[in-house]
Symmetry: C3
Subunit: 108 residues, 3 copies
């Protein structure tokens, strides 16, 4: 499989389901993602100003082509409500062939 | 760690919790997976015939040996209710040793 | 990106939300994780003593530095309520730069 035909998983989180849906539809309508799944509510635990905080969030699982990932990152940094959002990319080693092709076709 | 002792994560999604449980139990009973977790309901956003659709789905997170993954893909393509299901494989770089061995022992 | 500046995703599961929160806060307070998300309830299917079992669980998604991962594994093996817990590590290939730096700063 050549590198340019690979697909990846991109994860980000937001605080409201409304923001999650807005980002999901934005990415799909811009052909930056073939499919976005929204999980949640989930509970995020982290340290802020010396205290441990717990917040409710929703997670986006974004499926896109590896060649589209740089544009997804730029778009999320622009559209995301947080100043410093989690945006992480996880490689998909293999996939069913029809699904991989569908992801590639739906993105640019 | 040699390649044949590696374990992987396989993800797929279905529309009903009933189908999710059927596929999970099928994979475990066939020794194609040591453990399957069902997440959801989740919300999937994608483009279909020029429109953005939103559907409820359930996600299977399948833990298996890398050497069993090709059989998992074949089995899912046969048993999955969708014509073109998402079937993606993500490598697990490392794991607790006892858990990795348990996954390998439970699958073939 | 040098190896020591990479970040990873660590997954584990427990049976109660209370144990999930205890482990999440323990890892964050020990600077072993920058952020832990708790998903669930999820449904786990697996074989035990020849029978297929279904259990409710909660999943921790732990974000940490790759250099901290060995300490996370040791800590989870000590604090986890199961004898043989799932502890798996998935590499994050790329991330938004600010988020990656935040993860590295928060862990040791």
């Amino acid at each position: 499989m050549s590198d340019s035909s690979s697909i990846v998983l991109v994860l980000t989180t937001v605080q409201s389901e409304q923001d999650a849906k807005r980002l999901a539809d934005d990415l799909v309508s811009q052909s930056l993602a073939a499919c976005v799944q929204i999980d949640g509510p989930i509970k995020s635990h982290y340290r802020w100003a010396g205290r441990i905080e717990e917040n409710q969030e929703f997670r986006l699982m974004i499926k896109t082509a590896i060649t589209t990932w740089p544009k997804v990152k730029v778009r999320l940094l622009k559209e995301h409500p947080y100043d410093e959002p989690e945006i992480i990319m996880i490689p998909i080693a293999e996939a069913s062939d029809g699904y991989r092709k569908w992801i590639i076709e739906q993105t640019n």
